[in-house]
Amino acid sequence: MLDEGPMIWTSDVLIVLATIGIIAVLSYFKLWKWLWDNWLTTVDHKKIGIMYLIAAILMLFRGGVDGLLMRAQLSWPGLHILNADHYDQIFTTHGTIMILFMAMPALIGFFNVAVPLQIGCRDVAFPYLNAISFWLFFVAAMLFNLSFVVGGSPDGGWTSYTPYVETMFDPGPGENYFLVALQITGIGTIATGVNFLLTILRMRAPGMTLMRMPMFTWSVFITSVIIVFAFPVLTVALALLLIDRDFGAHFFTVTAGGMPMQYVNLFWIWGHPEVYIVILPAFGIFSEVFSTFARKRLFGYSAMVVSMVSIAILSFVVWVHHFFTMGAGPGVNSFFGVSTMAIAVPTGVKLFNWLFTMHKGRIEYTSAMLWAVGFIPNFLIGGLTGVMLAVPPADYQYHNSYFLVAHFHYVLIAGTVFGVFAALYYWWPKMFGVLLNERLGRWHFWTFMIGFNICFFPMFFLGFMGMTRRVYTYQAGYGWGVINLIETFGALLMGVGFLFFVYNILWSARFGERDTTGDPWDARTLEWATTSPAPHYNFARIPEVKGRDAWWLMKKNGETINGPKGVPFEPIHMPNDSGRPIIMSVFFFIAGAGFVFEWWILAIIGLAGVLVTMALRSFEYDDHHYIPVEEIEKTEAAAGRL
């Protein structure tokens, strides 16, 4: 502990202070019971979605601070703000957190917030499992974050290539944190995939055929299919590497017959589809936002669906483009180069459809729409440089350079992060019953978007100039200094944008415009048919769907969500809240800590706890209740919907 240096000491102190602060505030205001009853034990998909989003925003902060530290370190030649070990840990945690603990949970948060409402049903297929998914992600994120102060963070990059991360080259628990935390959150993600696949296939309101589903729901459906087939590959890759590290096996060591490339193959068979797991839902979000704020139905609906299906299929046959330089030979590299470029075709189809959706529309530039419009040119830069990278001979030049770093930040930030911000502005009133401030929203958009381009566009040139990724410091005289300094200012501007967003949240909570209509954007899909925030049971009466853009049609025909007056409501069947998902996840955390430190007693206690909680669930029969008609009538009357 004592020899870890001021950075870790400061973090230790901050973590202890924050924990004491949270406990003190909760105790002082006597909020523990409220927290437990309303949030920690909930199986309500809307609340689970909100918890995902809170966690994701916190992780965006953590990952963003990592990014700023790296930019500070690189801002001028020969700096030693961080030492090399910390730099390695920080770029590893930055990548891992941003993809697995920020982008995915943010999007899964919106799956939860929007999908059941969009398809007109009362819950996800498996609400209890949904709570387990969330808590597994949450404890995994905590475990991963703890690594920085307990034993050291992983430092092998977010891909953690073997054999570098084998015990002989990378001793200590750091890499184990990576393997175990991703494993735990991965299990939760597979469950989410199964859950939303079934929710969308089996729980749509009457009349909602597949080809009438909102585009976001379509994107979630396809994403869920990718999750179900891609995530088990990650499970295997991580498990084999953990077995190597914890038990001395030889899957990926160079000695005793191991084969490091097998890890790289497995990792990217998951890793490339993962790119689409975090981009397709964002595409779905943009589709909703474009058609809502252009006041037009989405152009080329079926083409959009076909494009997403083709992207999903192609995403599984391109993984070798991540290691063209391995030397697989021209045949293999050509196949994977061409299959990669092929993805540009359906993606292009989607871009044109969005443009045609806006064409001749009455466009309203709300904050959500700004993010959607800003996405197009920025994502285009990311996509086109992706095609450049897909040419194997050219990739020998770009490989592992800052050109690549620029490319994937253009794809992931302009695609996923812009998408998440668009969705936050768009669905915020549905989640909290209050609108975010549009003026602050515009400040947020412009500072972040300009900062993003200042930060990442010059990286394409740094790549051409020979700067490789993961360098910790560099000498003067390469001509990289000024460019890096400019980038650092861009990164700071993005940080300012984030602060505008946080301020917007706080400001709107107090002074924001309340949404009393349930439909502040005059939108098209069913989530806007119910009150904001939606009641516990979503819809007092399940809507009858008569076409695409179901709510738009209902508004045009002068129908309301509760249908003709006088027809009595029926009692609504709802699942009971349960404390078991969080308890089970704590046992996963304990088992995980056991595997991280190779402390087997802890691992056994944790795994036994998991088994016991599963058995208790199996023996539980009384797991649902009915909401009585009087209560529904009271809620609907209070919302003015009777």
């Binding site: 199964v194 089996r202 749509r204 069947h573 699942p575 649902h624």
Partner: protein, 211 residues
């Protein structure tokens, strides 16, 4: 699709006698479908382990080869026990559909017993191999062998625990749509593991004895 809304969480439908008991709630059919999707993802998991095994098969690093290691009697008995348990598990489902609780519980117990025989032989094989020096740490081949076969063994052990829990529930509650659904799901799981074992038998043991 029409009843999807009441489907979620329950709903009061007249029971159609031609529908098997485990499908008597819409929610049950939802859960069974969900389990099929889960098995799809479990299949991907095993596929990756198989692929890794095939890649590692020849990488014995001077340690024992599959041909030297595998014991024909052992894996034959294991295979027979597991295949037969899939049959008895099917009989349990058959008795469940006939509403015959005691016979059903009996077949489930026999299935569990056969599963235990399988696990017993597998553990014996692992212990013998390991004590003769063929450990997971010996070579890439053995790492992959223990992991693939061991993962299947873990699944079977989970199935045994799960089925045992269900026997208690059946004794307490009898055959209801809920217990029937649970038994039906565990039986799908069990047959799935049987199918995976056929691949292990072919790819690992038979091939390993020949090549």
């Amino acid at each position: 699709m029409s009843d999807a809304h009441t489907a979620v969480h329950g709903g009061h439908h007249p029971v159609d006698p031609s529908v098997p008991v485990e499908y008597h709630h819409e929610e049950n059919s939802l859960r069974i479908a969900g389990f099929w999707v889960f098995l799809g993802s479990d299949l991907v998991l095993f596929s990756c382990l198989f692929a890794t095994y095939v890649v590692m098969h020849g990488r014995t690093a001077g340690g024992p080869t599959s041909n030297q290691l595998f014991d024909v009697t052992g894996f034959t008995i294991e295979t027979i026990a597991l295949l037969f348990s899939s049959f008895t598990c099917g009989l349990a489902t058959y008795e469940m559909r006939r509403g015959n609780r005691n016979a059903m519980v009996m077949w489930l117990l026999i299935t569990i017993a056969l599963g235990l025989v399988f696990i017993g032989f597998e553990v014996t094989e692992f212990v013998q191999d390991a004590s003769s020096g063929a450990r997971m740490q010996t070579s890439g081949f053995l790492s992959a062998f223990y992991t693939l076969v061991g993962t299947h063994g873990c699944h079977v052990s989970m199935g045994i625990l799960w089925m045992t829990g269900l026997v208690f529930q059946l004794l307490r509650r009898g055959i209801t749509p809920i217990t029937a659904r649970k038994v039906f799901i565990v039986s799908i799981y069990w047959h799935f593991l049987d199918a995976v074992w056929i691949f292990i038998f072919t790819v690992v043991y038979l091939t390993g004895k020949v090549l």
